[in-house]
Symmetry: C2
């Protein structure tokens, strides 16, 4: 089942958001337009806008208001990817050259800044001070997560806690806040938006762990970049942490650097896949997914609850 | 007369903002703390906070509320400098190594992102949706200005309009908005904050033109970086545009690139100084300053009007 089939009843609204995203990144600079459009057209699941819209269904749903939060969150996410690629020195994202590789780091920095600023501008159409406090706090955490990622690169003595805090800041909080802000923008009760925050947080953790597993298990074609790119770039993910519990594997992994050959990387990945690291990581992802599904139990009965459940299951269990 | 003598009655409040800036940039990352503190301790005139506070005197002045806007604007300004140094590949700022030169471009990108995010977080303590719309719009313009600066680097066929639009976006708007938001945060009438915006815009234009003149006329010691750095980095400023009206000087300037030797740069600068370019630029700066002083006429009589006038005169006419 495809993700967009799950929320087909939102198609008109999602299409509107896609159009709005195109409008949002337009500017009078040709270079900036090219770089931003390149990024937009590389696609993406748009799960943050989807969560904003679904969560807004718990209040007085008005697409003309809630779309501002949906566009803002996707733009902020996109901007963070552009800066992320600079940090990771990544050549490919979703099968396309990254902005920093097609242009350069400086263009990537400013394209990210611009897209981010446009996201903020959209957000200010939501006239709720609480929403802005929540979002700005999340952006600070997002930055801290990215900085931790730089600091923790190729650092093999990090532990599970370091990893979990990092993915919380890098991924889970923005998804949590997508759910929360959708609910706040539509005036849902506090009890509901707090629960949706927890739901989004748990889904986000599960999502990132699955992403980190797929980086090792999926094919280059599915990933749109070489398998094992994370480890190659020095990002020590959950399966890698588990694999390092085996001393032989640990010493293999400790030798990985950006200068490691593609051939050696393939061997290291094969060793990780042969261990129980993937299975154990799947269990952790599944645990977060279960918590997310449990959060849904506490939400008022309505027709989107089922949809949220399906989306959560999809992104927690997706194969690529 | 020193700038801080002009607004000595604000000393307690300015000191509080300085302390708050130190608190604002603290994080649990040592690297980030070092980089941010390095930037903070390099100093700066803090003119944006000063304008926020002075403008707030036109309403119900409450330092505990208005300080949030003052801190936010200085942090956003600081963040833009950090990214600016990446774009300009600048080694020195205010006599100290830039973050990108002491660490690297990636650290500079994220330090900028973090400081910016912290600025936003402070700003959300101002519970006025209009203030956020104004600020987010200004940030978008700031980004456009920086992108134009990249595009216009070493481009000798640009005109006065390109230059004025660029410095409006890069500098003047944020100063204009500092004045406006100070007034909004203290609940001053719309008529007042609109006029303060115009005042700040005119001061900002005058300020940047003076800055661009000083880059050529001041000594390396006064500037904290080599004289003529702007031109060397490809930033075509007002005096350079005027100098290029002379065909011989134009061909000298057209040959400047990042590979030009320090010796050749000195000759080019001497030629510019020997032309009427500096004098003509001073006249434009003075014209903006006069407009700023005229804006003050329309503001209600109070004791800070005189201070605003003195600050405007100071920063429009400063020698370095």
């Amino acid at each position: 089942m495809k993700l967009n089939r799950i929320y087909s009843f939102l198609k008109t609204d999602i299409d509107q958001i896609e159009k709005e995203l195109e409008t949002a990144i337009e500017s009078d600079s040709r270079l900036l337009n090219q770089a931003s459009l390149h990024l937009l057209q590389a696609g993406g699941k748009r799960i943050r806008p989807v969560f904003v819209l679904l969560s807004a269904k718990f209040g007085e749903y008005d697409i003309n208001s809630v779309k501002n939060a949906a566009v803002a969150l996707e733009l902020i996410h996109m901007a963070s990817l552009v800066h992320d690629d600079v940090i990771d020195d990544a050549e490919l994202r979703r099968g396309k050259p990254t902005i920093k590789s097609q242009w350069d780091n400086r263009i990537a920095m400013y394209t990210g800044d611009y897209i981010f600023a446009r996201g903020l501008e959209y957000m200010t159409n939501i006239k709720n001070p609480e929403a802005h406090q929540i979002l700005s706090h999340t952006i600070v955490e997002l930055c801290k997560g990215e900085i931790a990622q730089i600091k923790d690169k190729y650092r093999c003595d990090q532990n599970l806690r370091d990893y979990l805090l990092r993915i919380k800041r890098k991924t889970a909080l923005l998804i949590a806040v997508s759910c929360q802000l959708g609910a706040i923008a539509s005036g849902a009760p506090e009890e509901v938006h707090r629960r949706l925050f927890r739901f989004g947080y748990h889904v986000g953790m599960s999502y990132q762990i699955t992403d980190d597993i797929l980086d090792l298990t999926a094919s280059e074609e599915e990933l749109g970049k070489p398998a094992g790119s994370d480890l190659w770039q020095g990002n020590i993910t959950l399966p890698v942490l588990y694999a390092m519990e085996d001393p032989a594997l640990r010493s293999e992994i400790e030798r990985v650097s950006e200068n490691t050959s593609a051939e050696t990387m393939k061997k290291v990945i094969a060793s990780i896949l042969a261990s129980d690291a993937i299975e154990r990581s799947h269990r952790v992802s599944r645990m977060y997914l279960d918590k997310a599904l449990e959060d849904l139990e506490y939400l008022p009965q309505n027709r989107v609850k089922k949809t949220l459940k399906n989306v959560a299951n999809f992104i927690g269990k997706r194969k690529y």
